[in-house]
């Protein structure tokens, strides 16, 4: 008898705990993003109610700056970010009752999960960045709208289109502080060995070959050069009889670290969603791009396939760094760290090994150099939005923003800071920054990272589609192009309907 009672008690206890837990859990999730509910989460939350009036309450508020959604996790830049934090905490911070804390994600691959957990777990960071469009899209709807705070903020130093760049779905999630245009990087030693003239550095200028003949600098010319720069272990190129693609030791051209939209931008801007924001479309120029890349990989052999591309011969994914590829198209954020092995050792001057050039024109003669931008955003779930905005605006100030841009290898978005930046010897990576500056006139519109319905899900479907197509030598590209919208439209429909 007694035992049965005991058992009942235990069961009751269990059920009660579970029910209590359910309510508790529900509360946590419900309030995780609110400004008021989760003060229990951290000791510093007590002062946030009246803190908006000014920093004179005497209590110091911790503002946590989360780094990991984009650049900033690489070892060499961590101390530089710590220096910025130090600068804040020794100047602006104490006077305004704010203590800035840097939190660098230990593993960039897990950063998004980490921040999602913190936000939903009631422990949201207050500032997150640097973040690009793609990284920001993962938290779509979760960013604080800065518009109210920017009402009387001086924006004359910014290109208005760049400010607009950070307006996502009617929410101004940040201010631009750095821009990273795409440029062409080429390995001088490999060009010399092949007896080829370098690509042009003036945007829109023709290519002048070794014999002095001019050709338009477009993707056809790039293809010709790239084939010449592709070599197997016997020194043969794809143009020679007996060329063995499995024995390649050098490649001509590669478009690195991109998804399909990023690859296709060389052929002009585009979008997989029509102007109504709910109908799938496949732009003609991108269809050309899909064919071009497939041929480049499997027929012309000058573009690395996935197997070679992941191998050590091509730097375990960082192709240009291996010294075994003639040209790549990549953004300026590649400067410095990206070429560390290529230029390291041997006391080589980086300028002897590689240089940068203009992006070649697409089939219609239009040049497109896709653009990346970085911002800092504030998660809505922050407990101290007012203080976070203060720190953010300090970071975007004319004094600090260019420093931040330099840390991540970006050209400052503030136009007044651009010339000082490119002439600063600290930013000398062995090439002429004016070439990169020139790229800013040819951004991809619409952006290759532009918004589309169900951003992550659509990207995932597109990646699956493109991975299958590029990894199969016999893939039917035409059929593939016809298939994509069949995959995307249902995703759009679920998101918009």
């Amino acid at each position: 008898m007694r035992l049965r009672k005991y058992r009942g008690f235990l069961a009751l206890l269990l059920v009660l705990t579970l029910v209590a837990a359910a309510c508790g859990g529900g509360d946590d999730t419900g309030d995780g993003g609110g400004d008021t509910g989760t003060t229990a989460a951290s000791g510093g939350g007590g002062g946030d109610g009246g803190g908006g009036d000014g920093g004179s309450s005497g209590e110091t508020v911790d503002i946590r700056w989360f780094v990991g959604l984009g650049a900033g996790t690489d070892a060499p830049v961590i101390p530089l970010q710590e220096a910025i934090v130090e600068q804040f905490n020794s100047t602006y911070g104490p006077a305004n009752g704010i203590n800035l804390i840097l939190e660098v994600s230990p593993d960039p691959d897990q950063s998004a999960t980490l921040m999602q957990t913190q936000i939903s777990g009631g422990n949201s960071p207050d500032i997150a960045g640097p973040v690009g469009v793609k990284g920001a899209a993962q938290f779509f709807g979760g960013w604080l709208d800065l518009a109210p705070y920017l009402a009387d903020y001086d924006l004359t130093d910014f290109d208005p289109s760049l400010v607009e760049f950070w307006n996502q779905g009617g929410v101004q999630i940040g201010l631009p502080f750095a821009v990273f245009p795409q440029i062409l990087w080429f390995n001088k030693e490999l060009f010399d060995e092949a007896g080829l003239a370098y690509p042009p550095q003036d945007w829109g200028a023709p290519y002048v070959d070794a014999d002095g003949n001019e050709k338009p600098w477009n993707l056809d010319t790039l293809r010709e050069l790239a084939i010449e720069l592709t070599v197997d272990s016997n020194g043969l190129t794809p143009n020679d009889d007996g060329f063995d693609p499995d024995a390649r030791v050098q490649w001509g051209f590669g478009n690195m670290f991109n998804d399909f939209r990023g690859n296709a931008s060389l052929f002009g801007g585009g979008s997989f969603v029509a102007a109504d924001n709910e109908t799938c479309q496949f732009p003609d120029n991108w269809a050309t791009a899909a064919n071009w890349y497939h041929d480049a990989i499997w027929d012309d052999y000058f573009h690395p396939d996935a197997a070679f591309g992941d191998s050590e011969i091509l730097g375990s994914g960082n192709w240009f760094n291996s010294g075994n590829i003639g040209m790549i198209a990549i953004h300026t954020w590649y400067a410095g760290w990206g070429t560390a092995d290529l230029t390291g050792g041997d006391n080589t001057d980086p300028g002897d090994v590689f240089d940068i050039a203009a992006i070649p024109a697409g089939p219609d003669g239009v040049i497109t150099a896709k653009l990346h931008g970085d911002t800092m955003g504030i998660p809505k779930a922050t407990e101290n939005p007012e203080k976070a905005v203060e720190v953010l605006l300090w970071m975007m100030s004319p004094e600090i923003a260019p420093q931040l841009a330099a840390i991540y290898g970006g050209i400052p978005a503030r136009e007044s800071a651009q010339q000082p930046y490119i002439t600063d010897p600290a930013n000398d990576f062995g090439f002429d920054w004016n070439v990169a500056l020139g790229a800013l006139s040819y951004p991809d519109i619409p952006s290759h990272e532009g918004w589309w319905p169900a951003y992550q899900e659509s990207s995932d479907a597109m990646n699956e589609w493109w991975t299958e197509l590029t990894n199969d030598p016999g893939a039917d590209i035409t059929a593939g192009i016809d298939n994509l919208c069949g995959l995307l439209q249902p995703i759009y429909d679920r998101a918009t309907g």
């Binding site: 035992l3 269990l14 609110g34 499995d246 191998s311 375990s316 779930a381 995932d460 299958e468």
Partner: protein, 325 residues
């Protein structure tokens, strides 16, 4: 010899509860609960709440980017999962197929290696055991890198070694371990065998626990190596084999890390790496749909539970417990 198993006990249970317990039975029950109380307390504090919360999630539209907008949507996630999402069934199929291939190979390999490493005829047993265990200790970041390079169809050591035997393995027309749908289950099985140290260790502990007197007696009776293996070693280690089987099955249902790192979340090639957990992770974190992810997780939970109960039910046919019940 008494065979016991959980299922038999649960069948006997109601009778036991309805009848009056003797004082000694009550005493025994109290002692049992006292012994398991650490786990009970820990479970109630650290596991019960989150588990239940995750079940509540499965009834919600819960986006990780905007948790404040979460709302209860009833069984919508469950309905979508069960009736309107072919990825779910594909994920279950890919995972089950992999388990059916990988589990027998893995269990056999672990047992075989344990017997080998337990053999008195092996010189330097300690060194062999240590080295066989070493791969399980390689930190995950490194092992992912190692496998992606070693299995590279153009430059990997695996294909270059196979090529030494005169088989065309390297190159575009060679063996593409991570790009060929029908090879995928085997590729990941091999990778799994590499990290089999724990299972070997558990089998070894089982083999070590067999009283040496049993073997000696059998030897005096003239039983050979094979007969002793069959009649003494295997029956005596069935409890730990059973453990390896259950945990192997549970682990494979949640198989995730290796395909996640080596093939990403796209399911490439042709959906062959669309393991259930990969799809779950993608929904819950990549797409921020925690509500749907939780529904998927509970589906996997019930699948695993059914499997576990079935496996426990099979115990009485093949697992030998010397302690009886």
């Amino acid at each position: 010899m008494t065979f016991s198993d959980a299922i038999a006990e649960s069948r006997a249970g109601p009778k036991l509860r309805r009848g009056k317990m003797s004082d000694s039975e009550k005493h025994e029950a109290k002692l049992g609960l006292a012994f398991i109380s650490p786990w009970l307390i820990g479970f109630l504090i650290f596991y019960a709440v989150p588990m239940l919360a995750s079940f509540v999630f499965s009834l919600m539209d819960y986006n990780l980017a905007t948790p404040e907008d979460a709302e209860v949507v009833g069984l919508a996630n469950w309905a979508r999962m069960l009736f309107d999402d072919s990825n779910v069934w594909q994920g279950l199929w890919v995972t089950t197929r992999f388990a059916l291939i990988s589990l027998p190979i893995g269990l056999a390999a672990a047992f075989f290696l344990a017997v080998l490493l337990n053999s008195t005829n092996l010189w330097g047993r300690n060194i062999f055991r240590t080295l066989f265990f070493a791969p399980s200790l390689v930190p995950f970041v490194a092992s992912a890198l190692i496998w992606s390079q070693v299995l590279n169809s153009q430059t990997g050591w695996v294909n270059r070694i196979i090529e030494l035997f005169g088989i065309n393995a390297v190159g575009i027309d060679g063996i593409r371990w991570l790009d060929t749908p029908y090879l995928i289950p085997f590729t990941f099985t091999f990778i799994g065998i590499w990290g089999i140290g724990n299972a070997i260790l558990i089998n070894l502990a089982g083999l070590q626990g067999i009283p040496t007197a049993l073997h000696e007696a059998a030897q005096i009776d003239g039983a050979g190596w094979w007969r002793r293996l069959r009649t003494i070693s295997i029956p005596m280690v069935t409890p730990v084999l059973f453990y390896n089987l259950v945990l192997g099955a549970v682990g494979l249902l949640q198989y995730f890390l290796q395909p996640f790192v080596l093939n990403g979340t796209t399911g490439y090639p042709e959906g062959a790496t669309n393991f259930f957990m990969i799809y779950l992770y993608k929904q819950a974190f990549d797409f921020s749909q925690m509500g749907y992810g939780a529904a998927l997780a509970w589906l996997l939970f019930f699948y695993g539970l059914a499997l576990t109960v079935i496996l426990f039910g099979t115990q009485k046919y093949w697992v030998y417990y010397a302690a009886g019940d």
